[in-house]
């Protein structure tokens, strides 16, 4: 079971509340899809600069594995206030720990709405078929 202290997009991004901010990341499923167990297969990640306004559902960054570039989608709208700069140079951190040390950006959200997102059980169901 994935962590139930956060919400999810079907495209495998997660968002977690932390005080009056939220933190975005990607799930273990996304990491596995991109790298298939080879942590060195994640090679580049572009994240937004602090101050950038993010729109719910739109792209906030991009990640490249050895063989694919994938968009990163915003679970909620808001303003970027901090970026995990470690990730851009050390993607193994993301590959090893996508739930904690591998967080991507911290955002001041436009509102606290989560109705459009999946909870952990809903996300499990959405990826369950693919995981077989």
């Amino acid at each position: 079971m994935r962590p139930d202290d956060r919400h999810y997009l079907p495209s495998h991004e997660w968002v977690k509340s932390d005080g009056d901010t939220v933190v975005f990341g990607i799930t273990d499923f996304a990491v596995e899809e991109l790298s298939h167990g080879n942590e060195d297969d994640l090679v580049y990640c572009d994240l937004p600069e602090p101050g950038r306004k993010l729109i719910q559902g739109e792209t906030f960054g991009e990640i490249e594995s050895v063989k694919a570039v994938a968009d990163l989608n915003s679970p909620v709208g808001g303003e970027v206030i901090e970026v995990n700069k470690t990730i851009e140079d050390h993607l193994q951190v993301l590959a090893k720990d996508p739930w904690d040390k591998g967080w991507l950006v911290r955002v001041k959200p436009d509102d606290n709405s989560t109705e459009h997102l999946l909870d952990a059980a809903g996300y499990e169901a959405s990826v369950g078929e693919a995981e077989g």
Binding site: E32, E33, L34, H36, T59, S65, K67, V69, D71
Partner: protein, 241 residues
């Protein structure tokens, strides 16, 4: 049934713009494109740094792709793209599995020409070189090789539940890529894109259990392609990194 769109000697902007138009359109039918480039074009990978690719002045045109990987000199090759929803069986699961499925069809097609190609695996290739920034000078275990050299360049873009897969099958040699695997070198005779295409189609029909129907892009797709295509050769996009 998939659409087959052939674009022979198309401009680099049209080639890249049409691929992105198909990726962006949720309603687009499953599509295989086969194409060649005019003029010959050097395409940079999406994340490559501009200064990390040498000899940029030696190609007829330059674009930056939205797919990853290294730079490719599109000359003497058959380029293909596949655009499908990510849920399609071809793209389900980890990215490397989708490469295995697509490359199985390429190996079949090459075998029809008598070329015993294989995935690289753990072999060190003679075509690998450090520091050129060229796709064909770097390799991964799933790359298609023959004669211990890389002969097909591949990359993907995944966006909003859809996948664009690019493949470049080297038919002849190019000055920027040097001694890589080519179909012509293996055959000892000329092989044009139009020679290779029907064999590739038959192999894909067999492997993917699909049928292809020749089609033209719709007027709307052409319009979006023209609009999107301008970005690929713009200074801002070329030098984004």
């Amino acid at each position: 049934m998939w659409r087959l769109i052939e674009s022979w000697d198309a401009s680099p902007e049209l080639n890249m713009g049409l691929d992105e138009a198909l990726l962006e359109d949720d309603e687009a039918a499953p599509t295989l494109r086969l194409y060649t480039w005019s003029p010959d074009t050097l395409s940079l990978g999406y994340f490559q740094k501009w200064e990390d690719v040498a000899h940029k002045d030696q190609a007829g045109a330059i674009v930056r792709r939205i797919t990853g990987g290294g730079a490719i000199h599109h000359q003497a090759e058959l380029t293909f793209s596949i655009v499908l929803p990510q849920q399609h069986t071809l793209f389900q699961g980890p990215v490397p599995l989708s490469y295995k499925r697509i490359h199985a069809a390429l190996l079949d097609a090459l075998l029809e020409f008598g070329i015993q190609a294989r995935l690289r695996g753990d072999v060190v290739l003679q075509s690998d070189r450090n520091g050129s920034g060229m796709c064909f000078h770097e390799s991964t275990p799933l790359d298609v090789t023959w004669g211990d050299r890389k002969g097909v360049g591949s990359a993907q873009r995944r966006r909003a539940g859809r996948v664009l897969h690019h493949g470049s099958i080297k038919l002849g040699s190019t000055p920027l890529e040097g001694e890589i695997a080519t179909v012509e070198a293996a055959l000892g005779s000329e092989c044009t894109p139009q020679n290779f295409a029907p064999v590739l189609l038959a192999a894909m029909e067999q492997r993917f259990a699909v049928r292809f129907e020749r089609a033209q892009p719709s007027p709307a797709e052409k319009q979006v392609a023209r609009s999107l295509g301008q970005r690929y050769s713009s200074e801002a996009f070329l030098r984004r990194r």
